[in-house]
Assembly symmetry: C2
Homo-oligomer: 199 residues x 2
């Protein structure tokens, strides 16, 4: 084991390495010790930057929330100006992000983080949801609770496909992730328009 002194921003490096672990092996692959090992530092080093495992995971969730918000916004903008197109693109972007990074809503809103006081994370998650609400309200005036339900249903659909895809229900080699992303986009569209007609 080549282990040396880490020079630079170890705190940020720990978060990035944690995200890499999640991407490669899912939630079960994450451990403080494994993250340290990957960076070539001692297993004690992370505890200089985070009081415990949960606070590291909270920082990971904050970063994931910011990254996801950026990708969803970019995908919506790339889809043009039609609100339904933008909402559908957001759903597809969520699926791609969650499959690629392993850090979707289940990491960002994980129940074990709910009691971790971390303003960075709460700010990031609030911004994420706020942007998403904007996307859905642009498609039409409706009670706020209806908007929230639409988002919940879209996320449930996208997260469900993500789980089935990453956990091997699909023959992953023969079904490209873009095909699943298209199904999420179509489902999202149907949520708004009430039917299954293509764009």
């Amino acid at each position: 084991m080549t282990r040396g002194y880490h020079h630079g921003d170890l705190r940020a490096a720990l978060v990035r390495a944690s995200l890499d672990l999640l991407a490669e092996g899912g939630p079960g692959a994450f451990s403080v010790a494994q993250v340290a090992r990957r960076l070539g530092v001692s297993t004690a080093a992370p505890y200089r930057h985070f009081p415990d495992r949960e606070h590291l995971l909270s920082a990971v969730a904050a970063t994931a929330a910011r990254d996801l918000a950026a990708e969803v916004t970019a995908a919506a903008d790339a889809a043009g100006t039609d609100p339904v197109d933008r909402f559908a693109a957001a759903g597809a972007a969520y699926l791609r992000f969650a499959v690629r990074t392993g850090a979707g809503f289940l990491v960002i809103f994980s129940a074990e983080l709910s009691e971790v006081d971390d303003q960075e994370r709460t700010a990031a998650t609030r911004a994420l949801m706020s942007g998403w609400i904007d996307l859905v309200t642009a498609t039409g005036d409706r009670p706020m609770q209806d908007s929230l339900h639409l988002i919940e249903e879209q996320i449930a659909l996208a997260q469900g496909y993500t789980a089935l895809y990453t956990q091997g229900f699909f023959h992953r080699s023969s079904v490209p992730v873009d095909e699943i992303a298209d199904r999420v986009a179509l489902g999202s569209r149907r949520l708004i328009t009430g039917d299954a007609s293509a764009p």
Copy 2:
């Protein structure tokens, strides 16, 4: 630690106790040692009935598949004779089962089981999917691939809601599981009919 000789069908008891663990703490709560502890037997005892951890999980998956198939069938029958009603009831039944037991498709079709040779499990999963295909084909003639896609989308939706619900995205105390089940039923209905009109 009160530990004694187990009298009776330890094999079946191990499977039941495993399901209890999954129900209480999700996949992360399962371990061979914990299952043994719960039954008051030594950690070596399970290895007399299963060669390793994965074969125990495979037996758990087989039982879950049989139980789920029975509940889905019962829910469809209770919904009457209209094929759309029956399909929607199946989706709601899946959500209730997965929330209550922690053993949905992610356990039954877990990737780590794909290389475990277990005829009981493969027979149970085949029967489960076969019954589900019957439910969707009863709603109308369509290419088999379309039927499979409808099931996948329904399961993705239901599994996504299950994950969001069990992992704490919803304020679990204030949202009853039946309300989420109704949303899955409505979404399932929309998959078939192409719109969001209630029954």
